[in-house]
Each structure stands twice: as structure tokens, then as C-alpha cells.
Symmetry: C2
Subunit: 330 residues, 2 copies
């Protein structure tokens, strides 16, 4: 079966979608079409500015998280391609309201490079910038370039966003963000791969009896192909390495994210969430808070990721703080 | 390519997913597993109770809309199958807080029958019940059983929910809901059909050069197969009949819902939203408010629906009123 896409032309997808996004949320965001920036409609003088971004195709990440209590600026690259250093610089200047800018960067070579260049340019212009590098994907633990950054970025954006809103300074936010990253791990699996807008073929093809385990969010193959079977067993296989990596034991509380990768309908995510709660509960680990939905996607990929973040009172309080963005509001 | 589903067993999907849903939103909802009811965690004495429900497979509808400013009770049937009259009755009794109950029912034979029986039983028990029948799908205008109910149900739930919160009585809410239904129309198209949990085959197969136009949310075939092409042209073909049916002319304001049917990634929905804004704007019709996302789905169907609701100050004000549910919060 050919994959089809409801688009006009592959090169137009991102600008057209961003324009539609801006038309949908005029009360929350502003849009700079030239630099492909989505900005919080009203920036707060004296608050540290939070900027994130990266390749597109992961919506609602990152533009969906621009707003009070989360990001000030999101910078969009082409599908699965980093934004340029110039775009990021424009975003950094916009985000700076006199107290410096926190960059939240997923660990991919292009993003790391371009955010780094933008940070250096900003330094020349006397804008203080700190970077939190998000590298939560357990599947890439042994990679030379380090672990990839995936859904834990939501927790970093939410928690640092709340702290920034409460008046934390740049150094405090950077330390907090790094602490969240250090306490968070993610693992993913896919039942089918994604296809780029306009492409008739998926990034890879799986036989009916296998699941891609440890898959990335850009069509990267996983670390293994494991037998397809009941959801509970597949969820257990995601959870086990996360518990081990984070050395979770009873009665540790965690914040859990059950994240759909794009083509996963909600019934599947919620029955996976049930198993996650049960499995952690049997270990005496409590799911103190959870988020279930498609938040860090990979176009039309059918699969899910599970993120666990070791929590404490401070992190739970920042997680619970009010947030008002297109994709996350409470 | 075989369709695969991340489930345990088809019969377990709904109870397992509802259990996961309840574990995810303990601060917002309560869950009655026996009657498959999701209830607002704290019901309000003296407020008219709002109940909706229907077959599952359309998540986040309806359980995702339970909470302050929207539904009090959602009743879940099996996939694409009405809940029983007994379930609905149990939900009606729970929803009644002394001011009667408003049923919001999508126009499908099973739902209409079972909600009607539940209403009669409630009457015997001196619970006042009124029904708003939602029938917005233009594709079924000439059907003997009337138009199907689809995504306009969100607008009815949101607007009546806000009015109920503000103290409106049962008769007022019923009239308001019927007014919304009368002013709302929806039309859908699909690039691929849905498959039931556990099924390897989709409900129908489309050739690569055709789109199913006027499709339903239960795998029902559409009214026509039209040529596949650029998204803008397909969106235009959805919008034209809606404008005609609602007799919209400049400078009418509308509330628009661009709704993903399950397997449609957000970039596609937002670029469709852009075209919708442009197309209506060229007619002098203003999109006063819009909602873009996958709210009334059909499992893994790849497609979208567009709903237009002729708006006025009262409806916009009720639309804007605060809402706090798992799937819609502002």
C-alpha cells in the first residue's frame, strides 16, 4: 500500500503548516514566517527566555509548547533537519528579555552545532545563553555521539518553563534542566516506520511478526527486531531498561510520558498506560503524574515511546504549575 | 501491508484503555468499570447534568471531554457499537444532580434507540431528561435515517457545557444545543480507511489516485471517490458544500473545527487549516475561532473532517468560557 500525504508540495509543508498554526492560535502565539519562528504572543520583560527547536515532523513539538509556563520561542527546521544557526540566532534575540536565554536542545549533530553557533553569536552581542542538552534515549546509550534526545524534552520544557515563570535566573534554570535530563530516560518501539511528506515508501519495512525496538524519531532503525505480540509484553520490554538505567526502586515516584509517535490511536496509548501503571506498581514505584498522548511524533510512524523521570517534590511542583500553550494546558 | 494494532485482545481494548484513561486523569475523572462510565470527579449539585456517549474508537470523544465546562458523564460502547440502554441509564442517574439531564446523542440508529430507552426509564424515576440529537454530516443529507452525527458534537458539548456551568436550566440547554446543531455542518474525506483493533485489513481499500469523499467515522464508504491531488483543492471541496448548506455569506463569523480522523499527522491538519482560513476569507467569512486536532477519530483512518458552525456573540462567549477536561482545556 502506497503511503499518501494530504499536502500540496513537500517544500511547502512546513511554511503552510506554520501559517495554519499561527492562524489557529492568534491569542497565544505570534509567527515570524521569515525565520520560521513561533513566539509567545506576550514576552515577559526580565524573565529568562526559553528557546527550543529542531527539525519538523515531530508536532506538536516544539511550537505546540510555546506559551505561558513553557517556551518563549520555537524554531522550526525542515522535516527532520535542524534549523539554521541564523534562524536560531533570530529566535535567541527575540527570546532575550534582559535576563538571558536558555536553549533546550535535543542531542542531534545538526541541532547541537547550529544552537552552538547561535550561542556564540549571541555572546558576541552580550546576550547570556546557557544550553541544556537533552539526551534521554536509552536505545543509543552506546552511540559515539551520545544518547539521542526524544520525549524527555517535554519534561525539560515544562519544568524549566515553570521555574522561569517563577523568576529563576539563567544559571538556576540550566542546572535544573540538566538535573531533569539526568533523571529521565526514554525508550521507543514501532510497528511501522514513518514516511516523509510526499514519499510513497516508509523509511523501513517490517515483517508482520516483528517490532522495531529502540527506534528513533527520524526513521532511524532500532537496536533490535523483537517478536510482535500482546501490548502488555511490549510495554514491559520498554519499561524494564528504563527502571534499570534510572535505578528506580520502591517507593520512588516518577513522572511518566506515554507518547504516541504519530500513527498510534489513543486506545492503544491508554491501554499501554494501564500496563505501565501496573508494571511499575508491582515494583512499588508510583506514577505520581503522567502524560498520555502524541506529543513528540515522527510523522505517521505507528509506535510509542515511554519516558520515565525520577521525580521529587520540587519537580512535581514545577510539573503541576499552570501552563497555557496550544498543546499543553492546565 | 498488514494493519497491526498495539493491543492485547480485541475484547479487552476498551476496558483496558478506559482503565488507563482513569489512571492518567485521576484529578479530573472517576471511572465506573462495570458500566464503562467516565464521570466528572466532582459533580455540581443543582447543575443540569450533561451525558454523552456512543461507540468507542473515536477517542478522545467522549471521555476526553468530561470535566468542568463540558460533560459530566461519558458512556462507552464497544468499538463502533452503541452502549446499552442500561449503561446509559446508570450514567443518567449519576449525572442527575437535581436539575435533570441533557443527553447529547450522535444520530446513529443504535445510539438513538438506547438513549431513548434510557430517557424513558429515567422519566419513570422522575428524572427529567432532554435530548439533543446531533446530525451534522452533509454527506448523509439524503439518507432515510437523516444526517449522521460527527464532529459538531464537540461544539454542542462545549457550548452546552459552558451554559450549564453558568446555571442554564434543562429546557434552555436543550434549545441551545438544538440551535447549535441547526447551525453546524461537517464533511469528511479519507485517504485510507480504518481497521478494527485486531483486524489486518482496512474497512475498504482505495486506489492510489482516489480519495473517499463524504466518508463516515465507522468505516462507512463515502458518497463519491474523487481524484487525489493537492491538499488545498481537497479542502476546497469540503468547504464549498458547507458554505452552501449553511448559506454563509460575508461577513458571517464561524467557529471551525479541522479534525483529524486518527492517522493524520498534525502538519497535514494545520496546512488544511491555513487553506480553510484563506478560502473562507476570500468569501468574506471570518473564522472567529478554530480548533485543529484529532478530536473525533475513527481508529487509524487517515483523513480529516471540517466542521463549520455559524456563530454569534452568545455562541462565541460560551465557546470561550473556561473548560478543563483531559482533551480540551482553556
Amino acid at each position: 500500500v502506497t503511503r499518501r500525504h494530504l499536502i500540496n508540495a513537500p517544500d511547502e509543508v512546513i511554511p503552510e503548516a506554520l501559517a495554519g498554526f499561527a492562524l489557529t492560535y492568534p491569542h497565544l502565539v505570534a509567527y515570524d514566517s521569515e525565520a520560521a519562528l513561533v513566539l509567545r504572543r506576550e514576552l515577559t520583560p526580565g524573565k529568562v527566555g526559553l528557546i527550543s527547536g529542531g527539525g519538523s515532523g515531530h508536532e506538536p513539538l516544539h511550537a505546540g509548547f510555546v506559551g505561558a509556563g513553557m517556551l518563549d520561542v520555537a524554531v522550526a527546521g525542515a522535516v527532520f533537519a535542524s534549523p539554521t544557526a541564523l534562524q536560531i540566532h533570530t529566535g535567541t534575540v527575540a527570546a532575550d528579555q534582559g535576563a538571558g536565554v536558555l536553549q533546550i536542545v535535543k542531542n542531534y549533530t545538526g541541532d547541537v552545532l547550529n544552537f552552538s553557533i547561535a550561542r556564540e553569536i549571541a555572546a558576541d552581542e552580550d546576550i547570556a545563553v546557557e544550553t541544556v542538552l537533552v539526551d534521554d534515549d536509552v536505545a543509543t546509550t552506546s552511540s559515539k555521539v551520545g544518547r539521542r534526545g526524544t520525549a524527555a524534552v517535554i519534561a525539560v520544557e515544562k519544568i524549566c518553563g515553570a521555574a522561569a515563570e517563577a523568576g529563576a535566573d539563567l544559571a538556576t534554570l540550566a542546572a535544573l534542566g540538566r538535573r531533569v535530563v539526568g533523571q529521565a530516560r526514554t525508550l521507543s518501539l514501532a510497528l511501522s516506520a514513518c514516511s516523509h511528506p510526499g514519499d510513497a515508501e516508509p523509511a523501513f519495512v517490517l515483517p508482520d511478526d516483528l517490532v522495531e525496538f529502540g527506534v528513533g524519531i527520524h526513521g532511524e532503525r532500532g537496536t533490535a527486531r523483537i517478536p510482535f505480540g500482546p501490548a502488555d509484553g511490549l510495554v514491559d520490554q520498554l519499561v524494564e531498561p528504563l527502571v534499570t538505567e534510572l535505578q528506580l526502586t520502591a517507593p520512588d515516584p516518577v513522572i511518566a510520558i506515554v507518547n504516541g509517535l504519530g500513527g498510534t490511536y489513543p486506545l492503544q496509548l491508554f491501554l499501554a498506560a494501564r500496563r505501565l501503571h501496573d508494571g511499575l506498581g508491582q515494583r512499588g514505584i508510583s506514577v505520581a503524574r503522567s502524560l498520555v498522548g502524541s506529543y513528540v511524533t515522527s510523522l505517521d510512524m505507528h509506535g510509542l515511546s515511554i519516558t520515565l523521570l525520577r521525580a521529587d517534590e520540587q519537580l512535581l511542583s514545577l510539573w503541576d504549575a499552570p501552563v497555557r500553550t496550544p498543546a499543553l494546558t492546565w
